[in-house]
């Protein structure tokens, strides 16, 4: 694991051909080690070297892709225990559970909700990712009919679950074009289910009654050069499953234990009958390491908070989230409404916009690109300074929308008001409060003239 640049350099052709776009092989090796370049960029690697390097540079929790093309769900790929050490890489997939014993109406409603619910936030789309289809009846015909129904509804990221290998095989064939995740290979059915997964080129869940058993099965499968593995510790107990996830991640990341170095799948839908509690259980698995989380229902009131939590926890702490630069209309402003400016750090944006919204004062909110930095940091870095704000105001077309020429700047950068006053001809610069929480009284007392 974690080869240094020099280790990698030794395996490269050392011809400095520059075909990878980097000046020397050594520089390319350094970039590889830092994760800034892809191995594929070098056209001269032997298959053997490539495998060696891939193996060595693979993350401790292997990345597994379920589905195909734009609908593919990427899970795993994790390298740390705590997000402050580096970052959590791939969002855990949020899944919806259905089975072939449910009524047509229930299925339709669930699929409808699954497709419809999506939330846009800081340029990301938050939504559920995968449908787990289970053969409850054990009838292959019913199973494949249901799978086809789901595919016909336009949902092609699937996990197929069946106890009987024959039924699972029928399902896998029905969805073969979409690379569904198959659930599950166990001690009893290992050979037959592995064959189904291999034949259909599908990722496969190994399921055991304990971590030991799961690790053993995963090891056995890996020995067959099978790589797309998901772990299911088989527990319907919340606390047991939580602990298994913690231990598996620790074994993979700290001990470099390959046999547990795969994403996990958990089923909060089997852990409680209370749909609200199910969401709370799911939230524990978002913070602690699950790869795929299957719920019994997906509705606005449970999906939205969970997707939000997932986005927060999986935000890269090295890169602040940013909002798009521009003019935001809050509470239907008109030509006499106040104009407030702040930076595009998403947290700043959310707090300021939500404060203005709750003040009910119609306001123009200008978001200035400060490369995702907060107001003070942005100012210190020269990204939220008078000479960059002035041209932004001029080209933003805000002048066409308002009659007055008054700009409210954050109190934290009161010191730029003089400079800005000079740079922005015809505008009066007003100093707003330091904290967003004081915006409501400020805006309520604000007058255009």
């Amino acid at each position: 694991m974690a080869l240094t640049g020099m280790d990698i350099f030794k395996l490269l052709p050392k011809t400095n051909c520059q075909e990878c776009g980097v000046a020397t092989c050594l520089a390319f090796a350094m970039k590889l080690a830092a994760g800034q370049a892809e191995l594929d960029a070098c056209p001269h690697l032997s298959a053997e070297t490539r495998e060696k390097l891939e193996e060595a540079s693979a993350p401790p929790v292997r990345q597994v892709i379920i589905g195909t093309g734009e609908h593919a769900l990427k899970v795993g790929g994790e390298t740390v225990l705590f997000r402050h050490e580096k970052t959590f890489v791939n969002n855990p997939g949020i899944g919806l559970f259905i089975n072939d014993a449910m009524s047509d109406q229930e299925i339709s409603q669930k699929l409808e909700a699954f497709k419809k619910l999506a939330y846009e936030r800081v340029g990301l789309i938050l939504k559920a990712d995968i449908i787990a289809v289970k053969s409850q009846t054990g009838d292959a015909q019913k199973f494949t009919t249901l799978i086809k129904k789901v595919i016909d509804a336009g949902i092609v990221t699937l996990a197929l679950m069946a106890e009987n290998p024959d039924v699972l095989a029928a399902g896998a064939q029905a969805a073969a074009a979409f690379r569904p995740l198959l659930h599950a290979a166990t001690i009893e059915n290992f050979d037959s289910v592995v064959k189904i997964a291999t034949d259909n080129k599908c990722p496969l869940v190994v399921k055991g009654t304990s971590l030991d058993e799961v690790a053993e099965l995963a090891g056995k499968l890996a020995a067959l050069k099978f790589k797309d593995i998901i772990l299911d510790c088989g527990s319907e107990s919340f606390v047991k499953s939580f602990q298994d996830n913690v231990i598996a991640r620790r074994c993979a990341v700290v001990q470099k234990l390959r046999t547990l170095g795969y994403p996990t799948i958990v089923f909060p839908c089997l852990m409680t009958d209370d749909p609200l509690y199910e969401a709370v259980i799911a939230s524990a698995f978002i913070t602690k390491y699950a790869g795929i989380i299957i719920l019994s229902e997906v509705q606005g009131h449970n999906l939205f908070p969970l997707a939000l939590q997932r986005m927060n926890i999986y935000t890269d702490p090295q890169r602040p989230m940013a909002t798009t630069e521009g003019i935001y209309e809050v509470n239907n402003p008109d030509e006499n409404s106040p104009v407030v400016i702040t930076s595009n750090f998403s947290l700043t944006y959310f707090i300021v916009s939500s404060e203005i919204e709750s003040s009910r004062v119609p306001t123009w909110l200008l978001i200035k690109d400060a490369e995702g930095l907060s107001v003070l940091t942005g100012w210190a870095a020269g990204k939220f300074s008078a000479d960059s704000i002035a041209p932004f105001i001029k080209k933003s077309s805000i002048e066409e929308k308002i009659k007055h020429r008054k700009l409210i700047i954050p109190g934290a950068v009161a010191s730029i008001s003089g400079e800005l006053d000079e740079a922005l001809e015809g505008w009066e610069i007003q100093i707003g409060p330091r904290e967003a929480s004081a915006l409501t009284p400020y805006l309520k007392n604000w007058k255009a003239a």
């Binding site: 602990q243 969401a279 509705q299 926890i313």
Partner: protein
């Protein structure tokens, strides 16, 4: 072949804080493991839920949140009593929001009267919270501390600007302080050092890392808490071995998403608010929170269950409960508590029900309450709700049992005889055992910074140069690798 599990090496332990005396004692902190990693160590006390009470009528709250408190929102004393008696608050968090100079700007004297009245009305520990206006808070919390002299209250937020004044109050009135720093491990540590320098024992400090709401920066709080706890228990940094306080309720309920009406995309408004609050709490609990400040009773119930399940503060199984029969029994629905279904809402205190099954007995609920599947006899409906299951509390049922001889015989009097059979949840046992043993409010061991430091210069040096943290080589809010 069994896999070999690497145990995390822990080197330190969070201080245990104990409040109250006699049977009303409550402890928190004490963790020597990462949150809920009970397979490798001990987490002796369940994290506590403090129910928030405001000192004015919060008209701005969404309907779903006002509803359970509708009868008490105008009266902080009644509100606190309801939170304690009906919703079983572990602690009360009294937020003196009306003293905000940018708001109602009520006087410190008014605030002190309110705080005193609330303190006198409740038996659980009281947290009195200011408005994060450093100067006003000094005035208000000083008045509160003097008015409540003799009661060990907890006050906050204490920040760098007012730590001297409030630290002095803490020493004079035997208070516990909640030290607030802006999402930064080094600033949290620095504030603790400053307070220690004043003579405030580390056992009298709770860390408020500043809480960001779900979708509004919770990830910053989450990571800084993880990092602080890591320093406390794996690096044995004594200056950070304090329990965490997370003031999350306001952060959740002030967001537009928690206030939004029901709709196709955002789902049911009430359930959404409850889940936003519960998931914010569960996230922070997983980062190490010891006190979570909450509001909605249903969110609180979810979180209690979460803590009981994950922390192994296990509830007794249904078989151990004396009421787990399917005979007709008198069941009292506690108004406004868990409302899982229509039946629970339609039931009145003292309604006649059949308990179909005891589903859960969360440790956090008072003995005598359980979550059960109940069938209403009056309404012929079925549903889940909190029921008053047994003994003492039954006397408090405001309405008499209505009918049926059969139920009368098995009603409170009959079942009270079975009281000795009642097995309290595991979480209750340490509390009872602790009575008499723990020393309320007195540090159990001498903190050792004084031993090492002889004069003020050295103290300042310690404050400035003591170990500092950064997240990793490449990034993080803290890149200061050199001493300040």
């Amino acid at each position: 072949m069994p896999i070999e599990i690497l145990k995390q090496q822990y080197a330190g332990k969070v201080k245990t804080l104990t409040f109250g005396s006699g049977g009303k004692q409550i402890s928190l902190g004490g963790e020597e493991i990462y949150p809920f990693y009970t397979f490798e160590g001990s987490m002796p006390w369940a994290p506590r839920i403090a129910i928030q009470v405001l000192d004015y009528n919060p008209e701005e709250w969404p309907e779903a949140l006002k509803e359970p408190y509708a009868d008490v929102l105008h009266d902080p004393v009644a509100w606190a009593k309801k939170a304690q008696d009906v919703y079983n608050a572990d602690m009360i968090h009294l937020w003196l929001k009306s003293t905000d100079p940018n708001g109602l700007n009520r006087s410190a004297q008014d605030a002190a009267l309110t705080a005193k009245a609330v303190a006198d009305a409740i038996t659980v520990p009281l947290i009195v919270w200011g408005t994060a206006n450093s100067d006003k808070d000094v005035e208000v919390l000083k008045a509160v501390a003097e008015a409540c002299h003799g009661r060990e209250i907890i006050i906050g937020p204490v920040d760098e600007a007012n730590h001297k004044q409030l630290g002095a109050q803490a020493l004079a009135n035997n208070l516990t302080l909640i030290a607030n720093s802006p999402i930064d491990i080094n600033l949290a540590k620095q504030l603790n050092i400053l307070l220690s320098n004043l003579g405030v024992p580390i056992e009298k400090i709770i860390i408020d890392p500043t809480t960001g709401g779900l979708g509004y920066g919770i990830e910053y709080t989450y990571s800084v808490m993880e990092r602080i706890r890591q320093a406390a228990i794996t690096q044995n940094d004594e200056k950070l071995q304090c329990p965490f306080f997370c003031n999350l309720a306001e952060e959740v309920w002030k967001t537009k998403e928690a206030k939004q009406e029901s709709g196709e995309l955002m789902g049911d408004a009430r359930k959404r608010g409850i889940l936003m609050e519960a998931i914010t709490a569960s996230t922070l609990l997983n980062a190490g929170a010891d006190i979570v400040v909450m509001r909605h009773p249903d969110a609180i119930m979810q979180v209690r269950r979460y803590i009981a399940d994950l922390g192994g503060f296990a509830a007794p199984k249904s078989a151990e409960l004396p009421v787990a029969d399917t005979k007709k029994v008198s069941v009292s629905y506690t108004p406004g508590a868990s409302v899982q279904s229509s039946v629970a809402t339609s039931l009145k205190a003292g309604s006649l029900c059949k308990i179909v099954q005891i589903m859960d007995m969360p440790a956090g609920l008072a003995p005598g309450y359980a979550i059960a599947l109940i069938k209403s006899i009056d309404h012929d409906e079925e549903g889940e709700g909190i029921v008053l299951s047994t003994h003492a509390e039954a006397e408090k049922i405001p309405e008499p049992v209505k009918q049926a001889e059969e139920s009368v015989t098995s009603a409170p009097a009959g079942r009270r005889e079975k009281k000795p059979e009642f097995k309290p949840a595991a979480a209750w046992i340490p509390l009872q055992e602790a009575a008499g043993k723990a020393q309320p409010g007195v540090p159990t061991e001498k903190h050792d910074w004084r031993a090492r430091i002889s004069d003020r210069d050295e103290m300042l040096k310690q404050a400035k140069t003591d170990q500092r943290y950064w997240y990793s080589e490449s990034h993080g809010s803290e890149k200061r690798k050199k001493p300040a």
